[in-house]
């Protein structure tokens, strides 16, 4: 039994080492942290943030974004002055914002844009 168990540990050990080599950070959290770092530097940590994107809402994208901007909270209906634009493709971000009733405040690298709700 001891040999079989040791075999199990060794078998899984080699399998997992291989997986670790090929599948590093599968949800790309580190990349999101780096992309969204300027937003965290721009606003106070307790700022509620709205969210707009050029892709349909996807829980993986929203949750990784939320983790990367935390402690700021991404909010839907709650009142908020600032809105995070999270884009997958370059485009006219100011125009995109206007179409959603937002004023572009600042454009960062890698499709990250900070908007402001003009009436608030």
């Amino acid at each position: 039994m001891a040999l079989l168990s040791l075999y199990g540990t060794i078998e899984f050990y080699s399998e997992q080492l291989e997986r670790n080599r090929t599948l590093k950070d599968p949800y790309r959290i580190a990349i999101q942290m780096e992309r969204l770092e300027p937003i965290r530097r721009e606003l106070p940590p307790n700022t509620p943030l709205g969210y707009v994107s050029d892709v349909a809402p996807d829980s993986a994208i929203i949750l990784t974004t939320q983790f990367a901007v935390a402690p700021m909270l991404l909010v839907g209906k709650a009142p908020h002055e600032w809105v995070l634009g999270n884009f997958t493709k370059p485009q006219n971000y100011a125009e995109f914002g206007r179409a959603h009733g937002l004023t572009m405040f600042k454009e960062f690298r890698n499709g990250v844009v900070l908007y402001r709700q003009p009436h608030k």
Partner: protein
Amino acid sequence: MMLVLGLTLLSPLIVGYLIARSLLPAYKPAWAGVLLTTSLGAGLGVGALSFVFFLTRLLVGPSTAAALTSELLLAGISGAACWVTRNREEVKIPGGTPSGWSWLLPAALLVAASMALALFLDTSAADPYGNWDAWAIWNLRAKLLAQQDSSWRNAFSTALNQLAGAGATHGDYPLLLSGYIARCWSLLGSVDDTTVPIAVAGLFSFATVGLMVGGLAVLRGWSAATLGGMVLLGTAAFLLDSSWQFADVPLGFYYLAVLILFFLVMGSQSTSGLHVLAGLALGCAAWTKDEGMLFALVAGGSFLASLLVSRKTGRNKTLVLLAAGALPALAIVLYFKIFLAPKGSSWGPLTLSVALHNLANPSRYARILRAIWDEVLQLGTGIAHPLIYLTILAICLGVPRDRLRQPVVVASCAALLITFAGYCFMYTVTPYSLDWQLGTSLGRLLIQLVPSGIFLCMAVFRTAEETAIQAAPSGRKSEKKRAAKSRTGR
């Protein structure tokens, strides 16, 4: 920075050791007692500091000075209690020490533990943020809890993860793991340090192995302890989940702690500290995850029933001491659930009509059974599977019937089975997609129960020493028969 990090991570080990040492007897040989006290103390220390962190935030507010003062107070009280009330009772444990070739078994355990550690470090380096629930729930909430203003309450806000849909909002989950990580981050002054959640995941994974080995060594001797540790370290799913930074391995740790302490309570005549520790472990389980609240209720009830059946003396005192350990923790959990947690966050869409409709659907039961079968297969890799290890051990060592009938064994089995039945019931009634729910959680829920299941099997099986003693007289009898046959020439 490294010094502060080291002190931050070391303090639960010290506080937990002092708490456990003041309430546990001194087991001999010392290695078993030290392993049990250190491993149990590590988990209980994390739990105690998580409670203190949350209570301080709630009563005083998010002040680092207040948090530090309350921690120093806890450390001082634990140290004084350890010095004054330290249990000096010495308990000799069964089984002796390994000799001759049997030293290979502890050596194999050390090899397996070293490989598990190397694997844990490699996986954590490749994936420092852990798996989905780590960054979507536990560490995200820790980042929020660590805030130095009123926004720390966002960790249990209705807005948490609202944009990601109903299945992703978990503001009502208990806060042991997130609270402890937040406590470390707030003392460090940074919520981006991945070392903290990695270290906490490592602490619970290896404390679970240590607790299994230490607990079995104290209860059944070194051979059962070594084999139990090897079965756990040979369980691929446990090794995989260890580095994910989820709350399931910590919850499995507290389940295991409760069962080991129940066994120790039922086997001791005078040691009252064990009851308090068992109560504290129950409270920690309830503060870790919702499943832990179910377990605390079920295990508490099963233990009560086993006390009544066993006709053990001092039952009232036992219950008072158990409650003394559990009630402060359970009171915090209930306060959080009733007054702070957002209502209907995790199970919001569940209504009575949905539940009844789902209960009446036979295809759901078939899907749940199939998923259980698939996930049980995935606990191991091929023939290297915990069920195969345990079957081999059951055949080779034997299972004494009188041990199966012991009230503590029946109560522990009932606690685990009813808890598992509770999980299956929630799958049956879930308002979310059943396949999604099973696919994203069943494997993790099994990992909560695996260490306790392995412990229970090893506690029930005859030990190698008992098997050897039983085999010796029958071996001598057959030798005598052979000698008689040769004398008579038949």
